[in-house]
């Protein structure tokens, strides 16, 4: 079974996204409410992929991602950024970071898992 870590400072969004991945795709979901907490959880739990918000207080998504890249034990875990910014330039900047993909808010809860699987190149349902 796929294990996903969701990092978002918004409690409601964490809950909805977790519910969506659990009930639609049957994935196991871990959550963290900040970048720092996310890094600790990722190191302890080694999820298969990370879905992370861009705009977070303290440490934002891109900074957290770069921090993860510095940590050899979790640098290999694919990260998808979730953003409410829709301007093309933001998308390109995020994509330029080297993340596995960029998804947009508001997301469709019924296809979120599918969008993630497509971005991650997951063919089977794990």
């Amino acid at each position: 079974m796929r294990r996903i870590l969701i990092i978002d400072d918004e409690d409601d969004i964490r809950e909805v996204a977790a519910l969506s991945l659990e009930s639609v795709a049957g994935w196991q979901v871990l959550t963290a409410a900040s970048g720092a907490d996310g890094i600790r959880t990722a190191q302890a739990e080694r999820p298969d992929a990370i879905l992370m918000d861009v705009m977070m207080p303290a440490m934002d998504g891109p900074t957290t991602f770069r921090e993860m890249q510095r940590s050899p034990d979790i640098a290999h875990i694919p990260v998808l950024l979730l953003t409410a910014k829709v301007q093309g330039v933001d998308q390109r900047r995020f994509a330029g970071l080297g993340v596995a993909g960029v998804l947009f808010k508001p997301f469709d809860p019924l296809t979120l898992a599918e969008q993630m699987a497509n971005a991650l190149g997951w063919r089977d349902d794990g």
């Binding site: 918004e10 409601d12 969004i13 809950e15 909805v16 996204a17 519910l19 969506s20 009930s23 639609v24 705009m55 934002d60 891109p62 900074t63 770069r66 409410a84 910014k85 829709v86 301007q87 093309g88 330039v89 390109r92 900047r93 994509a95 330029g96 080297g98 808010k105 508001p106 997301f107 469709d108 809860p109 019924l110």
Partner: protein
């Protein structure tokens, strides 16, 4: 008193009075000039204040739009997610009435999201904050892409989409922003589908009258009343007040279309099919676009410097991807599918660098580079090999190729390494890496400078500091640096002015640049700030260590003595 003395006195008296009159006049004029000068200075300072206020307002508006966009989407994400999960039934069956209510709530949330997107889009366009990204487009390609995008909506509405090119077989190209024109086409198609009866067809007719292209989207729907033909292009100017709710639109689609077309210097209007003798009811929306833009119409921001890169690969997909990456970063791109074509182009057009595939049918990359280097017209053009082969591969012909080519990017490649390698080749650094930090805040400059001194800097790398635009220009003129770190606000001019100046200097216009600013930089500002490989950082968002990492990575690419190999 002798006569002589008397005369002398008279002359003196006259001279004195003339002098007095002159002096008084001069004084008066002086007073008037002083008053005028004071008034002019007051006016100028008022202008200055007005300009500053205007700029502050623009900045505020920018920030407001960006914040609103984010703040509204955040709660909508939770609402949309929760409703979507509930109404889908994946969490358990709900009864029909409740399911219907959830469906209503869900559909309307979607509409609200579209509305927010459209309002922000329109706002950005009309304030000039979304400059057009002009390139050569193929009309047929854009039409077929748009039809493909809308095909599932058409299928659900049982409407057929037909593209009717005219005259048959010719392909029309034009200069425009392909994303924006495609937005117009999908908007027009979506409208036409919404108002088309089941089983009917929507036709897209294309043609040209020489200097303009003409595109018509023709439906056989209920038709727009003659008095509404113009108002439908207004914001929320639907024919029936409840159309937006019933048809799921936002009421802004045609206003956005008109805004985009006007930005391109074109016109868009609607006609009733009966009136134009089309023999079927319904409406035709007609768009007329100049195929070549007059220079002042291209965009508010100055065009990036002319910098044509020739991409040579027999694989159309590779050409497309590479071309897209490069154009997005401000390069002009010429694509050819064979070595023969590449030689032809390189001899006749200004080409700054060539990205060359090795395995091609006909003339291979090996032969192409040999011929390029033997021809005096093309020998100076730097060549970057773009191949699945590695430059460190053991094959006997590789070392010679490594020595002949100026750079190497291994497929599959990633965008940033491709750009870094191209930047390195276009801006060959000699000697140790020199970085110029342009920052007026002494404290901040000290922090950045010391972070570099502490960092594991590559051997011989040095960093210099300029506190003003004048100082920066002087350093650049004397000894061009290999990379510039630029703060946007400077005491004697903005970072924009410095970038404009750098763009005019042949040796500096492809200089790698890191823009380090106190606020988010808008998309239109980014396009005004690009030089060579350009990165944007916001002071509040990044730590000095990030700047340092980024700069070191860029410098390493600039000064890698052997070609860089990159894999995705």
């Amino acid at each position: 008193m002798s006569m002589f003395m008397f005369d002398l006195c008279v002359v003196l008296a006259i001279a004195l009075s003339i002098a007095l009159v002159k002096l008084t006049r001069a004084r008066r004029r002086n007073t008037r000039l002083t008053a005028e000068l004071a008034r002019a200075m007051r006016e100028s300072s008022l202008h200055q204040t007005a300009l500053q206020q205007r700029k502050q307002l623009d900045d505020l508006k920018d920030e407001f739009i960006s914040t609103v966009s984010h703040e509204l989407r955040t709660p909508l994400t939770s609402i949309r997610g929760a409703l979507g999960l509930l109404s889908s039934g994946v969490l358990g069956k709900v009864d029909d009435k409740a399911a219907n209510l959830l469906r209503i709530a869900s559909t309307n949330t979607d509409r609200l999201v579209r509305l927010i997107n459209d309002i922000l889009d329109l706002e950005r366009m009309e304030s000039g904050r979304a400059p057009l990204q002009i390139r050569r487009c193929s009309l047929r390609e854009l039409v077929s892409q748009s039809i493909e995008t809308m095909s599932s909506m058409a299928h659900n509405a049982a409407v057929t989409l037909e593209a009717i090119p005219e005259p048959a077989g010719t392909s029309i190209t034009f200069d425009g922003d392909p994303d924006r024109i495609q937005q117009v086409l999908t908007n027009l198609l979506s409208n036409a589908i919404k108002f088309s009866p089941v089983g009917s067809s929507v036709r897209v007719l294309t043609g040209s009258d020489g200097s303009n292209l003409i595109l018509q989207v023709e439906d056989s729907g209920r038709g727009v009343p003659p008095d509404k033909l113009e108002t439908i292009f207004d914001r929320f100017g639907q024919v029936e007040s409840n159309d937006a709710r019933q048809k799921g639109g936002t009421g802004l689609g045609l206003a956005i279309c008109r805004s985009i077309v006007t930005q391109h210097g074109g016109t868009i209007w609607a006609e009733r099919n009966e009136a134009s003798g089309k023999g079927r009811p319904g409406t035709t929306v007609i768009m007329r676009l100049p195929r070549h833009l007059a220079s002042e119409q291209t965009s508010a921001a100055p065009e990036p410097p002319e910098c044509a890169i020739l991409v040579v690969d027999d694989d159309a997909i590779v050409r497309q991807i590479v071309g897209e990456h490069l154009r997005r970063n401000g390069y002009q791109v010429i694509e050819t599918a064979s070595g023969e074509a590449a030689l032809h182009v390189a001899e006749r057009q200004p080409v700054e660098a060539i990205l060359l595939d090795l395995y091609m049918p006909g003339m291979s990359g090996w032969e192409t580079i040999e011929r390029l280097k033997k021809n005096p017209l093309t020998a100076q053009i730097p060549v970057v090999i773009l191949s699945v082969l590695s430059p460190s591969s053991k094959s006997p012909e590789i070392p010679h190729l490594v020595a002949t080519a100026q750079g190497w990017v291994q497929k599959p490649f990633n965008e940033s390494l491709l750009l870094a390698e191209l930047g390195r080749v276009l801006h060959p650094g000699s000697g140790p890496g020199r970085i110029l930090l342009v920052e007026d805040d002494e404290d901040l400059a000290t922090v950045v400078l010391s972070s570099f001194q502490n960092a594991e800097t590559p051997l011989g790398m040095s960093i210099e500091h300029a506190a003003s635009m004048a100082e920066a220009e002087e350093v650049c003129r004397k000894d061009p640096p290999d990379l510039l770190i630029l703060d946007l606000t400077l005491p004697d001019g903005s970072g924009f002015a410095l970038v404009d100046w750098l763009r005019r200097q042949p040796r500096l216009r492809t200089l790698p640049l890191v823009v380090y600013s106190g606020r988010e930089v808008s998309e239109s500002e980014m396009s005004r700030l690009r030089l060579g490989p350009t990165q944007f950082l916001t002071k509040a968002r990044v730590e000095p260590r990030d700047v340092e990492d980024l700069v070191l990575a860029m410098v390493r690419h600039l000064h890698t003595p052997t070609p860089v190999t990159a894999s995705a």
